[in-house]
Amino acid sequence: MKTRSRWASMAKHVPLILLAIFATGPIAILVTNSLKTRTELGLEPVGLPENPQFSNYVEAWVVSDFALHAGNSAILVFSTVICVLVLAGLAAYSLARLAPPGSGAVLFYLLLVTAFPIWLYLVPLFFTWRNLGLINTSFGLVVIYTAINSPLAIFLLRSYLVRIPKEIEEAAFVDGASKMQVLLRIILPISWTGFLTVGLVVAVAVWGEFQIAFVMLQDEDKLPITTSFYRFAESFGQDWSKTSAVAVLAILPIIILFVVFQRRFTEGLTQGSVK
């Protein structure tokens, strides 16, 4: 009986392990290749490096102008996360607690626009942005990222806020606090984990965003890490060890964030889409 259950357990683990190899194998290849010399990589695309070339990273950092582009991405990420948390936080609080007349229509609008394909509005948006001089600016991109990430953020934050017992706020209202004071002094300290989750989800989305940045930014020194990596891979693609090193640098912040905050990530990303 015991051996039989052990066999059954192994039968379950074998496919799970194969899937784990499928999911991580390419990442392992990326990391090991980033440490090989170009000739070694040409001879052996799979396997551990004989003599880890950490200098690849130094070169990759310099050649790809990594600090500049990662800095551009960081500016986009921080600005968008702050804008989304403030704007979506205010809206989520209003919808969860104050429920003004017409909030049903607002919710319907937010739900509807999440099903809009981006190409329905990206072409006119591009020409509007060009007329306003917002092409090739981080600000123009932050506005778009804020708009696009807000509906999901509102739904997520709202689902956190409605769980807070109303009595907590009411005591403060009786003491004469304003809505804004309640939001900042009471709601925010209680629900900061929800805000953290939403911030992480938005940060990952913006750090990896390619399509809109590709359309909106042309100047080399404005490019975020995604489109600059794309250009780098197009021109240095032959030197795959260096390209791999840039790629590892580009995914490192995300991987670290993900491993540290794994539970928040999965919670935010899975709940967000089921909403």
Binding site: I27, P45, A115, L120, P124, L125, Q211, G237, F265
Partner: protein, 319 residues
Amino acid sequence: MTTSIIHGPPDLVGDESAPVPPRRQRGRFRGRARAGITAWLFLLPVLAVHLFTVAVPAVTGVYYSFTDWSGIGDAEWVGLENYQRLLQDGDYLLALGNNVKWLLFFWTVPFFLAILASFLLSQVRRGQTFYRLVYFVPYVLPSVVVASLWKFMLNPDKGVPSFLSALGIQGFDKALLGQESTALWTIAFIDNWHYWGFLATLLLVAMQSVPTELYEAARLDGANLWHQLMNVTIPAIRPTLIFMFMMTGIWSFLVFDYVWVLTQGGPAGSSEVLGTLVYKTAFTQFDAGYAAAQGVSMAIFASFLLAFFLLMRRRGWEI
């Protein structure tokens, strides 16, 4: 699935319907109106940004779809001409067909992998956290990095195929991304590598809320794993499953990054999808009016999918 959260806890305070003196009632009414204004002030900033960035361009996009417009200067009204052109445009129909193939791929392959993984995961105790972490990682990686990584790995001369050939495993030494017959499916496979783990995590969350007594009862009836999956798990997670069929369908029409980085729609348009086609029409051919019509058609397909699933729900599929 989580609709209960949307309703929130019942409003106990509002139930106090004790008679109120008239004067206080008036004050309360005025207070309520002011509260409504504050509430709208909280909503306004995000709505203003969203309307300006998404809704207004979407509406003007619909307008431009009836015009001949290069993106600069005046647009000339042409009525339905752009839409008639769509129906006869071989490039457009090819891209649309590819999107349908893409849809079929994403309605099968990632769901098969995700159901397999999440069902087995829900059955094991050891290493669950580890597997969940590992399956989810590809989903958080930037698409352009994933695409470039696979582009290298599939390179017939330098990538994994050459490694396999050296080991004596033949048959992979073709340029999978460079052949018309395989390019689209290869890109779909790569996108799926990044997507299925997300789907698996989502389904696992749903599976964990299935009462264990149901499995115990099924086991007592002599059900094996396959029977448990088909008769207990799938029916129990059906709302999530159907919802994700809908979302995957809607998302599948949005694909751009993977196709653009891997093939730019080639060779010979064999992996062209609507996203890359609209981009080219607008920004390399400067046919912005026609591109707008293509974009509107994508919105129409998305709303068809949405309407289909909502109709199914009305018929008792309970999403």
